[in-house]
Amino acid sequence: MLLKINSLIEELLKIEKPEEFQRQKDFIIQELKRVKTEYDKLLFKYERSSKEKNILSSLLIRTSADLKQVSDKLKIRAEELSTLLETIPAYVYFKDINLNYLIVNHAFVDLVGIPSDQITGKKIHDIFPGYKNEDFLNKEAYAVKTGTAFYDIEEEVEFNDRKRWVNSNIAPIRNAEDQIIGLIGISWDITDRKLNEVELRHSKEMAEAGTLAKNEFIASISHEFRTPMNGILGLSEILKNSPLNPEQMDLLQGIIASAENLLVLLNDVLDFSAIEAGKMEMDYQPFMLERVMEDITLVMKMKAAEKNLGFTVVTDEEVPNLLIGDAQRLRQILINLTNNGVKFTEQGNVAVQISLVEQLANRVILRFEVTDTGIGIAPESIDSLFKVFSRIKGDKTKLISGTGLGLSICKKLCDLMGGQIGVESEPGKGSKFWFTLPFTLSNLERKLAPKIKMAITSGDVKKLILVAEDNAINQRIVSYHLQKMGFEVDLAGDGQEALEKYHQKQYDLIILDIQMPVMDGYKVARTIREEEKINLRKSAIIALTANAMKGDRELYLNAGMDGYVSKPFTFETLQEAINNVLR
């Protein structure tokens, strides 16, 4: 700048004539202004520098201290991370973008038995020569290419003749500019877990096999129980109809009551085992509520009368009669609750009330209430009442006999059918058990024939029934009941004999035991149905069976039978089954 001013001065000194000075003046002034501007800028820069110096120095000192603090914190953090890396019970490794190992932790070094400095820079095949899991390698490559993380990759790896199961997570690592610079892998040794899984699976299979065996045992034992029970109850009934003195009649009533209790117990155990095994399936069919309630009334009125109790059923007007649901299970719940009512009531009455809770387009929810004037239930017992093996306690000392399964079964049945169950009670005054169940409305009234209560005869000619049953006692019981109903009865001791008798006579009805020697009931039924196609005869067939498990019904129907009666049966159940097929 000084040079520029000097040269301008020299230019001025060279001027000799005043008119030339005037000519050069404007140019020189302009040049000087330009120099002045440059000078101002330089001066500003200088002054600015010294002014800024203080502030920047202060900022520098303070931020240096800050950075030192940050650096110290980072050091501590790095040490913490390093400790974590070395103590974590997993194999941890870092790889660069080319998937070369960068850092591995102690656990990894211990696993492969190679010092870490010899691992750095190597690829997976250098460390695990036999490694063949292409899927894992692809995932690693994909992770560093796209930034995707992968979790829970399970694989079995082999090294130094040792096989280990590992669960790996891999995630990309990015730098401050968000560029992927490599990946971190964490692999957990899950060999023990895998072994445990195998053991657990084995145990589970064993347990399942055990449950299956238990269910088969229960099904089989129930059959074994039912045949003699049929004998006891059937013969007792025959005996009851013979001339007995009052003492004998009393003893007989005791036998019948005990046998009936045993039957209830047997049925409860069977139902419970079916529910527990998840095999209880509902059988939704059209039915008439009225008829179910008539059955209940018939049975319970008698039982109540024995204790001088009243028994009433009240059905609200708006409750529909034609429903689709599992009538058998509804009957079971009602019998159970009304039985309890009678059992725990010494005076007064037991009442059933049915009301409509909700009606939708084609569905209704009904509420059934069973009220008694019995001993009631202690408040502390109410919560556990519907649990397995819970039994109704009137007070702390008095325990009433029972299996402890009945209410629990009622609850399970309500649950299975989408309903609810509950109880309100006051000790000493009585209980109100209630349950609600949904039903579909049925319009199939014509299919539900009215109940026939009388034995069927065709004019004066008695209808002919063939009974095939290998058990002599049961033969006697069935023929006794059938004769009382007014039928003529032929007997066969096995399936083959039954078939022979069928060839000789035309029977209106054939009652077949299922398990018989020589030829079982199914085969007899199938053969008869085949022959009917040729001989154009038609007989009704009813299965008589102790196989009371769900699903049997389909088997009988598939074999061409028209109905079945489960052992042990009563006069009424046998009669109803016959009425249904002979109408």
């Binding site: 800028k41 500003f44 600015r48 502030i55 900022l59 303070r62």
Partner: protein, 380 residues
Amino acid sequence: MLQKSFHSDSVAGFKQAWSESIKDGFNPNAAILFCSVELDLHDIVTYLKNQDISIFGCSSCGEFLYNDQSQVISEGGLVCLMMLLVPGSFKIRLFDGKEKSSFELGNLIGEWAGDVFKDPAILILGSGLDTDGEQLIRGIQHFTGNDISMFGGLAGDDARFKETFVFSGGNIKSNGAIAMVLDDDLYDIHGIATSGWVSIGADKIITHSEGNVVYTIDGQPALDVYKSYLNVKDCDLPEIGVEYPLLIKKPGAMDVLRAVINVDIEKKSLIFAGTVPTGAVVTFSSSPGFEIIEYTRQKVNEFYDRNEDADILILFSCMARHNALGPTISEEIDEAWQNWRKPLIGFFTYGEIGNNYNAACDFHNETFTLVSLKQHTDVA
């Protein structure tokens, strides 16, 4: 576009230049005016009341005008650009900011702009000490959406930090904003906002703030932190604070600078030109030196290459740049003038508003925010 522009050091000079400009039959319908608080603004506004021209003006912290006749960067003067725009293609309105938040003020402007034109572009000047520039923008965008072109600045008062003004022809407000809305279909409006300021030191956390008022940084009173880091006294603030703004880190987006425009000594708080939210990660920042001029030149040249055609240029340059660069600031303004050779009017601001290249409008500090305006059709 027909236009005339002039610079003056006095009110009398202004009046004379104004009347001379229209003596030859030039009949402008809009004028941009940036004026120092040294001059009697009320006198000027009263004078303009009698002129049938829409005025878009505010007080400045130094003003500049580059045209074929002269290239002036002044302090204590005024610059004026008179234009004949297509009638009906623009509207100017002054808004009162009293008893309104900056967001609410923005709402009013955004709603109005949307009513005036289907596709509005907005030039806006806000009062410099009461406006949270960021909230003002968010308030406008609340009505217009983020795609709108919007540029402007916050008024200055020659670094006194006492009272700034925005004005129209006949009215002046110390707390408010003036907006010029243009029919975006009839104009090309583009711009850049470039800073060059760099982050200094370790990250800090804003531990307590409300809007643009910061109470604590890293748990310490904000004013104490500032004074201690910059080694300055109360009297040096806020002027020094403008030059050493906080840089707010925005992960995944452009970092923004927030300059201190006021201090509350009693509450030991700092008042920034824009929102500084609680939890924000910030650092101090500074101009890295005179090399930022080179950086700006480069950005201006890139902008020119993309957008050569302009009738006028408007520049909103942060007052902190003027402080930091002194007389050398002319070098970055020269670069714009030399490229387009079209009238360039502007002032040193307390905050800048603008869309960066291909980005939504944001509020800035420490930037060189240059706007090019091109009218598609001239008035016959």
